[in-house]
């Protein structure tokens, strides 16, 4: 099986590669269109700011490539947010695979960004296979995807929001699977095993 991690200016590429290594999965990190299109699974990581991430994708025409992919694609953190329609982070037009907005947390009580371990619940889809309700995952983010019909996990911070989404061959997780201990490794494994 050929697993590709999309190479662009995302900060967590190395960590995702190592996490896959820990579950015995070999992956290649590349921005090469042909390599990405012919992969069995594509992982779209992300740490950083939305507009510069989108610009980095556009420079290499990766925005068009990602949208057109037919194999399972997993967006992680900012990767998930970029799969959405629009982000309030510097008013960024995103890829629009999901017709949802990405909004900024607004709170006078809770600290922003959310940093740390939080529960995921109302779990659905093969991505969440054998993951227990209310498992803990590691989050670092100031922007979130509101609840919507594509949610396959929910998390409460400021308000309940969609912490994982799924539509057709596209999956997104707001938390860092690569840093979420055994739960995260299991979710990565589930993604690799999705048919």
């Amino acid at each position: 099986m050929k697993i590709v991690i999309i190479k662009y200016n995302a900060g967590n590429i190395q960590s995702v590669l190592y996490a896959l290594e820990r579950i015995g999965v070999h992956a290649i990190v590349t921005a090469d269109h042909e390599e990405i299109i012919t992969a069995d699974k594509v992982i779209f990581p992300g740490v950083g700011e939305a507009s510069s991430a989108m610009n980095s994708l556009k420079e290499n025409n990766l925005d068009q490539i990602i949208k057109s992919l037919k194999q399972p694609v997993l967006g992680i953190c900012v990767g998930m947010q970029l799969l959405c329609k629009y982000s309030e982070e510097n008013n960024t037009e995103c890829l629009g695979v999901f017709d949802e907005p990405v909004k900024k947390f607004e709170s006078t009580v809770d600290k922003i960004p959310q940093i740390g371990w939080n529960n995921i619940y109302d779990l659905r889809s093969a991505l969440m296979k054998d993951i227990l309700e209310n498992s803990y995952c590691y989050f670092v983010h100031s922007y979130y995807v509101p609840m919507n019909a594509h949610a396959i996990a929910t998390t409460d911070y400021v308000q309940p929001y969609a912490s994982a989404i799924h539509k057709n061959n596209f999956y997104g997780v707001q938390f860092h699977t690569e840093k979420s201990a055994v739960v995260g490794e299991r979710i990565l494994k589930n993604f690799i095993e999705i048919i």
């Binding site: 900060g11 190395q14 960590s15 190592y18 996490a19 290594e21 820990r22 740490v47 950083g48 700011e49 809770d110 600290k111 922003i112 960004p113 959310q114 940093i115 740390g116 371990w117 939080n118 529960n119 803990y136 590691y138 989050f139 670092v140 409460d156 911070y157 860092h176 690569e178 840093k179 979420s180 201990a181 055994v182 995260g184 490794e185």
Partner: protein
Amino acid sequence: MLTKRIIPCLDIKDGRTVKGTNFVDLRDAGDPVELGAFYAQQGADELVFLDITATVEKRKTLSELVKRIARQINIPFTVGGGVSSIDDASLLLKNGADKVSINTAAYKNPQLIKELANEFGSQFVVLAIDTKLEADGEWYVYLNGGRIKTETKCFDWAKKAVELGAGEILLTSMNHDGTKQGFAIDITKRLSESLAVPVIASGGGGTMEHFADVFRNGKADAALAASIFHFKEVAIPDLKRYLHEQKIEVRI
């Protein structure tokens, strides 16, 4: 709910853990990777590695160590000790560190915080402050591992650092550090309630009750300790269970 975090801290010199440990069940407790993996498996929420190496080979040994840690450990970790430039931080990030902690270099050049936050995001930048309560009733910032006193008040520096882009504050009370008599509740609470970013309390944790106290009364988002974990005076699974019983949200 977002949980309170428990963070063991490992001091590193020349690629080895410095403070002695009594982990008889580990093959090599002097290996930071093995010890870190043990803590991760015990339920630590994050790890902090503080490098105190002073040799010229420091950058190379540390980046190699960071790579080994990132490969083997499945929870987030922070690396600190002598990070004083974008290049230092970039090298650590490239090798897999999730965050860097900066201290004296940031005080001497506050723009470093801004540059790091702009380049890598605020979530990458942990500002460490060593602070001491003086006879005048004020908490002052100390530099160089607590050897040099400044006239800057802890609260003012923390506030400024957050404005510049620090994503978390790692607050060590020198009055409490090493005493095992409990964390500095007042200054932790003041910072945590006033700042928009998480505060990690450090210094003084000796019993499980001290952790409950700093979370409940000190409003800390995370608590860091070293020797009590290394010497098994407090085991992380027991600590987590205790906090859970105390109705403090933790990851179990």
